[in-house]
């Protein structure tokens, strides 16, 4: 095990148990529901938030890539899990005080962070500010899980890398099937939804 990884997870998790409100807040951030909802809402809102038709078409294209990337991130994580099943910190380290449920899947890479960075990368291509906010949200999500004792810091970094790489790969998936993506966007315009 990487000693920096070990020290960092023990240090961050060691901060828990002092202030109950902070522990509860981090438990809420670390749930399976809040941050994935943030990433999904960002993609949903991007579709409708641009008044200029030409710029909106670009947003639509990257929203579709973002949705593909979110799905493909899960595939990427499963493929890595097949070759390396890294145990969770609370399994390997006696010092860890678990604040989260006992996850049964491998630790590396952090799937939720991969999803956040996939959505963030797609948003970043058309709206830098939104992209950075989503990257920050993904990072906070990952660190909350490190604090809760279910991820190592390198799992978070691995998840971020998977998210960014999968988004890059998803652009090629869309290009392979072009012009279907743009025809779909054209169809939504015909239905007065794009």
């Amino acid at each position: 095990m990487n000693p920096i990884d070990r020290e960092l997870v023990i240090w961050l998790n060691g901060l828990s148990g002092n202030v109950a409100v902070i522990d509860d807040l981090i438990r809420i951030i670390a749930t399976d529901y809040v941050m994935p909802m943030v990433f999904s809402l960002a993609m949903f809102a991007m579709w409708f938030s641009v008044g200029d038709a030409e710029r909106r078409a670009k947003y639509h294209y990257w929203v579709l890539i973002g949705i593909t990337s979110i799905g493909m991130s899960n595939v990427g994580v499963v493929l890595i899990n097949i070759s390396w099943r890294r145990p969770r910190p609370y399994v390997e380290l006696d010092e860890i005080e678990l604040l989260f449920y006992r996850a049964t899947d491998p630790s590396f890479p952090a799937n939720p962070v991969a999803i956040g960075f996939a959505a963030g990368s797609a948003a970043w291509m058309v709206n830098r500010k939104l992209g950075y906010w989503l990257f920050a949200a993904g990072l906070v999500y990952g660190l909350s899980r490190v604090y809760a004792g279910v991820f190592y810091p390198t799992d978070v970094l691995g998840g971020a890398a998977v998210g960014i790489l999968v988004t890059w790969g998803s652009t090629y998936i869309h290009r392979i099937f072009q012009p279907l993506t743009n025809l779909f966007i054209r169809l939504t315009r015909g239905l007065a939804l794009g």
């Binding site: 109950a20 522990d23 509860d24 807040l25 438990r27 809420i28 670390a30 749930t31 399976d32 529901y33 809040v34 994935p36 909802m37 999904s40 809402l41 949903f44 809102a45 991007m46 579709w47 409708f48 938030s49 641009v50 008044g51 038709a53 909106r56 899960n74 678990l98 604040l99 989260f100 449920y101 006992r102 996850a103 049964t104 290009r175 392979i176 099937f177 072009q178 012009p179 279907l180 743009n182 025809l183 054209r186 169809l187 939504t188 315009r189 015909g190 239905l191 007065a192 939804l193 794009g194």
Partner: protein, 208 residues
Amino acid sequence: MTPDPSDVQALFGLHYFYFAALATLGALQIAVSVGGFRGMWLLPGRLTTRYFGIALIIGGVALFFTLPLWVDGPWAAGSVEADSSTRLWGKADWGDLGAARNVNDVDGGLSGTGQATWFPLSALIAGILSIAAGTANRRLFPGRMIPDGDVTPGDVEGIDLMVSGTYLSALSPSWQKLKRNIRKDAAALLKKSDRWSISVQIWERWLK
């Protein structure tokens, strides 16, 4: 008695749907107020629509995380610990709220697939509600729904027509324009695609 995972899953699915319905409606309202698509505003004013959207999202989060106080579930006070397989059925205390929703999907928590099912359904409902409310607003407050700039219906199509009109008034001309131009548009898009695109290859080898 330990809760049955299928009961937990049904409860989580229902609560997530409430959460997603409020949050998607809120996000849609913020987005359409930024985009200026009055035909989808829940309220007649731009800023009131935006603030209402923010309130809906906050309301959705608050509802989802406080429901365990009033609804029986796998969060009975005193049993809410990190391990979600040893929970008891009942209502939570304030001190349990942070951890109440942390239930593994093998113990009945909502999986990513479950969320991917409920979220689009919620988004669809949010869209329908917004279109209905926008139409009602257009009829009830026509003076407040006048757009800032000039919109010439002949030049625009799609959601741009909802800057000043309703969904139904935007649908017909947009659909007609799509039907009229689809071949030309598809040909132009095909021309812009990469040579190695499957669609281009199929077109050039078998359909051309």
